[in-house]
């Protein structure tokens, strides 16, 4: 049922189109949209083209045009010195694991908060919502001290655990939005059939929450993928370094040769953008669902 409603909101064709729209307004709007499109695409275009140029072209003769000579060698240099491939994989591992953990923890917590009646459930929810406003920087030192006492630095989990914790509040917020829409009759029916809380959770709630996964995944992704401060301080060996730190370090080593820097930036950025463009409809819908529910 609720899926239907959701889909309807998303359906681009059902929106009402004003019939007597002013042509001048229409032209102005189109111009604004095109200008903003250019402003959004140009930096990406600029990054891509300068990744293929020599310093000579970047520094004067051909600042913004297409490269005259396509220097793919910049890429091999960025890959060779920068280890960008490894950092990319690390980022994926850390982000994916963080999403998984925050998702599971959020699902369980939301179940306890929204579908079991007990006195402090509202308070507990409010408690978790505190996390939306706490800046991640505030906890960096105490967390670092604790993790290091436990000899827990320089592993993937060093980043995964804090990232999961920081993604948790948003995940619970979105989960709540989705979960309250599942009819409570289902729980009742399951209870009459003799299902305990855990089985109800496992057999009814988890399958019905599927649409929420993508949404939570996207919000968590945006939080974890770009994180720089924790990654910079908590990871000291290059084997577990993530992409943001890797790029920052690489930019330090090629301060004057812009081509390889551009190449590294492209390597760090384009895979995500390509996945996004391929899956854009689903990603946008999930994102939008989060906004509507949350």
């Amino acid at each position: 049922m609720k899926d239907n409603k959701n889909a309807k909101a998303m359906d681009f064709d059902t929106t009402y189109v004003p019939k007597k729209s002013n042509p001048v307004v229409k032209v102005v709007i189109t111009i604004i949209l095109i200008v903003w499109t250019i402003i959004n695409l140009f930096p990406i275009y600029f990054m891509f083209t300068f990744s293929l140029k020599s310093n000579e072209e970047i520094f004067g003769t051909n600042v913004a045009g297409l490269p005259r000579q396509w220097l793919w060698s910049n890429y091999s240099r960025a890959m060779g010195t920068g280890n960008m491939g490894l950092y990319f994989v690390n980022s994926i591992i850390v982000t994916a694991a963080s999403i998984m953990i925050s998702l599971i923890a959020a699902m369980m917590a939301t179940y306890a908060i929204t579908r079991i009646k007990w006195r402090a459930s509202k308070l507990t929810n409010a408690f978790f919502m505190l996390g939306l406003t706490i800046p991640i920087q505030a906890s960096i030192v105490p967390v670092y001290v604790v993790l290091s006492r436990l000899h827990w630095l320089n592993r993937y989990s060093t980043l995964i655990i804090p990232y999961s914790a920081f993604a948790l509040s948003m995940a619970i917020l979105i989960c709540t939005g989705f979960m309250v829409e599942i009819p409570y009759d289902l729980d009742e029916a399951a209870r009459i059939d003799g299902c305990g809380l855990w089985r109800t959770f496992y057999q009814i709630i988890i399958p019905l929450m599927k649409p929420a996964y993508a949404t939570i995944g996207i919000y968590s992704f945006l939080q974890c993928w770009n994180e720089f401060m924790f990654a910079n301080v908590f990871i000291s060996d290059s084997a577990h370094r993530t992409l943001p730190v890797g790029i920052q370090q690489l930019s330090g080593s090629y301060t004057t040769d812009w081509g390889p820097i551009g190449a590294a930036l492209v390597i760090a950025t384009f895979p995500t953008l390509i996945v996004y463009v391929v899956l854009c409809k689903r990603i946008q819908e999930s994102f939008i669902a989060g906004a509507v529910k949350g």
């Binding site: 998303m10 369980m108 800046p135 619970i172 409570y184 770009n226 790029i247």
Partner: protein, 308 residues
């Protein structure tokens, strides 16, 4: 509301069942609580405690009362928290009054279903997906005083007098941080608001149109009031996001020139890791938490006030 487990008269059996229920609730909450308390709550408690100390992170801390907080607000050359605060409020101001209106405008326009709606939506969201470090590096290349795109362009169109050393000229440094920040997240807020706009039922629009409202009036009097809750969330995100800003400032200006573009988070990092003042760093993080929290409450209250 969930009605499946009601708590009635306390009998022995009841109590036992309550206990089991309690244990189950606890177990369901356990993973989230563990993460939340160990990574967020406990560190904050520790930070509050440390913020009353003079502690260099290595030896024992010395209790000094409110001295750290007092120093934060005494205008010193080394640690100008007031300037940092002013900068993040500037950032918040531009986010709320430039970025969000832009996002809202785009969302409303796209809500009218122009040609290429899907394309625009996709493109406008792209910067959100790019790592902030990449954006920072990219903009450094745009701002570079000698070879950067911006100055080269200004020279090309004979506006040589307009060229600046963008990131280190006191007049333009803060602006050069604000522009990429706004640029990156317009798409994020646009998509949030667009979701709201799309959620407005077509019947409502049609009814308003039949009453003779123009498209603009429909947006103003029908759509915006309906998506107000989403706008509220956007405002909260924009303001707390500005208070937390770190990456772009660190990469673009590093707080310079002459500490004019420091924000609380860069000061925090500097106090912790350059000056070894963990006590002072903790005081800054406590201030940050309080500020973020107060702003969220204020915004929520402001929106409630307006509704009345």
């Amino acid at each position: 509301m969930a009605e499946q487990v009601k708590v009635n008269k306390p009998s022995k059996q009841r109590r036992k069942r309550d206990l089991i229920l309690g244990i189950n609730i606890f177990l369901f909450l356990l993973p989230a609580l563990f993460l939340f308390v160990s990574i967020l709550i406990a560190p904050i408690v520790v930070s509050v405690y440390r913020s009353f100390q003079d502690w260099n992170g290595m030896s024992e801390g010395v209790f000094i009362g409110l001295k750290n907080y007092r120093k934060l607000f005494s205008n010193s050359v080394t640690l100008n928290f007031v300037v940092a605060l002013k900068n993040s409020l500037m950032l918040a101001f531009f986010s709320v009054f430039v970025q969000l209106p832009m996002a809202l405008g785009l969302a409303l326009v796209l809500g009218r279903k122009p040609k290429g709606e899907r394309f625009y939506l996709t493109v406008f969201f792209m910067p959100v997906l790019i790592s902030t470090v990449v954006i920072g590096q990219l903009w450094l290349k745009i701002y570079n005083p000698d070879y950067g795109l911006l100055n080269s362009f200004l020279k090309l169109i004979n506006l040589e007098t307009w060229t600046h050393i963008w990131v280190s000229d006191p007049k333009t440094a803060l602006g050069s941080i604000i522009v990429p920040t706004i640029w990156q997240y317009v798409g994020y807020h646009m998509l949030l608001m667009y979701a709201g706009v799309k959620g407005v039922s077509p019947d409502l629009r049609e009814a308003a149109m039949l009453d003779g409202a123009t498209a603009g009036q429909v947006d103003r009097y029908v759509v915006i009031p309906i998506i107000k809750p989403i706008i509220r969330v956007s405002v909260i995100f924009a303001v707390t996001g500005s208070l937390k800003a770190y990456d772009l400032v660190y990469i673009l200006t590093g707080g310079g020139p002459q500490k004019l573009t420091e924000v609380p988070s860069t000061l925090l990092q500097e106090q912790l890791f350059l000056a070894n003042k963990y006590g002072m760093g903790s005081a800054i993080s406590v201030m940050l938490i309080i500020l973020c929290f107060a702003c969220s409450l204020l915004i929520t209250a402001a929106f409630r006030e307006k509704d009345k």
